[in-house]
Amino acid sequence: MTEEIIIAGFGGQGVLSMGKILAYSGVMQNQEVSWMPSYGPEMRGGTANVTVILSDEKISSPIVNTYDTAIILNQPSLDKFEEAVKPGGVLLYDPNGITKPPTRTDIKVFKVEAAEEAAAMGNMKIFNMIVLGAYLKIKPVVKMENVMKGLEKSIPARHHHLLPLNEKAINKGLEVVKEVK
Amino acid sequence: MADIDIKDIIREENLVYKKTDVLTDNVMHYCPGCSHGVVHKLVAEVIEEMGIQEQTIGVSPVGCSVFAYNYIDIDWSEAAHGRAPAVATAIKRLMPEKFVFTYQGDGDLASIGAAEILHACNRGENIVVIFINNAIYGMTGGQMAPTTLVGMPTATSPYGRQIDLHGYPMKMTEIVATLPGTCFVTRQSVEKAAAVRKTKKAIRKAFENQKAGKGTSFIEVVSTCSSGWKVNPVKANEWMTEHMFPFYPLGDKKDCEKDPAEDYEKYMKG
């Protein structure tokens, strides 16, 4: 199994930390992983993206041209990465703020109302965990127990009291993700 | 007449003065009348008197005193031009139980190494800085230094230093005295016996400060360079007294022993 994922959105949406939690979950499942961010001033208020690769084998390049899955959280990222999804691959997006939805028919498209759900749960910070839950529903590449271990490893000990809330958010994502047909 | 041996003249019971063993027997390369030899001797004597020869590491500069390690018999690091305070910073931090001093000239300390000395003083590195200010570049052949006086001719200011062309002479001692990291900042000279004694006292105090962990001690020695100034050693001393001392007034600029807390609080209030 090799899963090449791009996660892209605005800086501040938790793109990089979601990628890190996913990668750490892979580590907990004894997979090979890489997490390659875009970095620099563009991150500050601009777009942020991270390539995460999970694999049973040693990972060659941490930078790839095409992706098995694109997780898209804003319009500029959709514009940039829709074409980069491999035929038969997955595009998951949050429709909040999307004015031109994806048009490709040779890939599977899913949506998750993560911003809306996070607002309903009263904490925008768990937005990215709802998205992560949605992704794991579509592609259960790591077991949920390992996701929880990865989460624990990724967030500082002083925030560990928030682990149950994050788990709730992931479960919410599992529930609310929908395939767009 | 029987041959007279030197031992017939210099006898133990007549001995009133002896070269410290911390100075090597190497013949110094300094020009006649140069202040370096005297200051080297004072540093060596203080090291001997404090019994710290085995614990002292010197950092020599680029300039006439680049070979200071040939004369003072301790372990040395020969630093790149101006960088002695950075080198000394690491040595002291990695071996805090040792005594560490830099020995720098005016080109080294005030020009190319201005950033390093200011920041070492600002961090309050627990080191001693000996700063020889003779207002000229000696080793490279008498070029203008940051401390060259206005109107003073040098190889690169042949018509005399002009403010509009070269800027003002820098008073490093006054500058570092404003930094709260320094604990003892003084300006001395070695042109006569009384001055030599005062300078030695200052050097001793600086090393004692280091022993007590008080921060940076900075000793400027206003010095002569008869070769660079193109006068004989006697004239050089006269010229220094007449021209250098009024612009670079001697004496302590700061002594935190008197009231360290007040100094820091004043600085932080702005």
């Binding site: 390659m36 990972i59 | 020869q53 040395w76 690091s77 020969e78 950075a86 690491a90």
Partner: protein, 360 residues
């Protein structure tokens, strides 16, 4: 098995330094490597191992702090990125001239000048050929994974002390900023004062006991006859480093064509090999791990069996010169690269192989 973690290349440099028993780190912030000092400052190793960490006023100062620390026989290091490493060149030349061991990490960004903060390999010449003044060489290591970033810290210190010569880790923003799984090294204690006296007491300035002559760390020698001998000694030392040459060959057994790439480019080449082989092109990879010493003989032997060689570098063609020298122009050698902070894609590399070598 050591402790497993998911870490950034930059962070692991800091962690590995603490675990390698480093005595001091002196640095100045610059993108894309500031996480190294930031990680150290969060870790506070001075409380744990006694390691000194200091933010200097400039790269000029930090490399001279390394000079001072290395002269004490201590395990000291600095890190920076290209413009900062240019500022360090004076100090690096002095450290090499005074024959001191130390570790320098360069997380390369694109240049010249202020350039870009994105990854690049444009400092190959500076690292391998000199950069500072005078005849000197650095031991240059080129990790291509976060694991190797960890491993090369200990290795770099070992080689630096073996040869009393500065070692440099030449990495870039790809490896520095990416996270991978890493098995951390076990803790190695810092040397005690007694151990330093025993091991390095014949050259380090650690205080002169009455029973030995003074130790002076200097690169200065005004007598040409003596200086020439010193140069001769250095040249022989650099030649002797060949025994520590390191390289990796990937899928070369049946290869007709060869990529030569180091660091992050070599990772992308591995993906390019997958793509090319899917099209039936038999291509392999030769990866120099030490850039100095360079695996000239090994590359000559392998390279001369090939129909053609493509070096892949994130620069305008630097290592390609050493590859051409190695194969003595008996095989076509071409270069492909992107620069300015652009990372070549695996497909671009395959296309370049087709156009420049196979069809060329």
């Amino acid at each position: 098995m050591g402790e497993l973690r998911l870490m950034k290349g930059n962070e692991v440099i800091a962690e590995a330094a603490i675990r390698a028993g480093a005595d001091g780190y002196f640095g100045y912030p610059i993108t894309p490597q500031s996480e190294i000092m930031e990680t150290l400052m969060v870790r506070k190793p001075w409380e744990e191992t006694g390691m000194v960490v200091l933010q200097a006023e400039s790269e000029v100062a930090s490399i001279n702090m390394v000079y001072g620390g290395a002269g004490c026989g201590k395990k000291v290091m600095t890190s920076s990125s290209s413009p900062g490493v240019s500022l360090m060149m004076e100090g690096i030349s002095y450290i090499a001239g005074a024959e001191l061991p130390c570790l320098i990490v360069n997380i390369v960004r694109g240049g010249p000048g202020l350039g870009t903060i994105q990854p690049s390999q444009a400092d190959y010449f500076q690292s391998v050929k000199g950069g500072g003044h005078g005849d000197y060489r650095l031991i240059v290591l080129a990790p291509n994974s976060v694991q190797e970033m960890n491993d090369h810290v200990g290795l770099g210190f070992d080689l630096a002390f073996k040869y009393r010569n500065p070692a440099l880790i030449l990495s870039d923003g790809v490896i520095g900023q990416m996270m991978e799984k890493v098995e951390l090294s076990d803790y190695k204690p810092r040397l005690t004062e007694e151990e330093i006296i025993e091991k390095y007491g014949d050259w380090a300035h650690i205080g002169k006991p009455a029973n030995r002559s003074q130790n002076v760390v200097t690169s200065l020698e005004l007598q040409s006859e003596i200086m020439e001998k010193r140069n001769q000694h250095l040249i022989e030392k650099y030649a002797s480093m060949q025994e520590d040459v390191m390289y990796e060959e990937i899928m070369t057994e049946d290869a007709e064509y060869l990529f030569v790439a180091f660091g992050s480019s070599s990772r992308i080449c591995q993906k390019a090999i997958e793509l090319a082989r899917a099209e039936g092109i038999k291509v392999g990879l030769f990866r120099p791990i030490t850039l100095f010493p360079f695996a000239t003989n090994q590359l000559k032997e392998l390279g001369q069996k090939m129909k053609g060689i493509l070096t892949v570098e994130m620069n305008a063609g630097q290592m390609v010169e050493d590859v051409k020298l190695a194969v003595e122009c008996k095989v076509p050698v071409e270069w492909f690269g992107r620069f300015g902070g652009i990372i070549p894609s695996p497909q671009e590399i395959v296309d370049a192989l087709k156009h420049k070598i196979i069809g060329g």
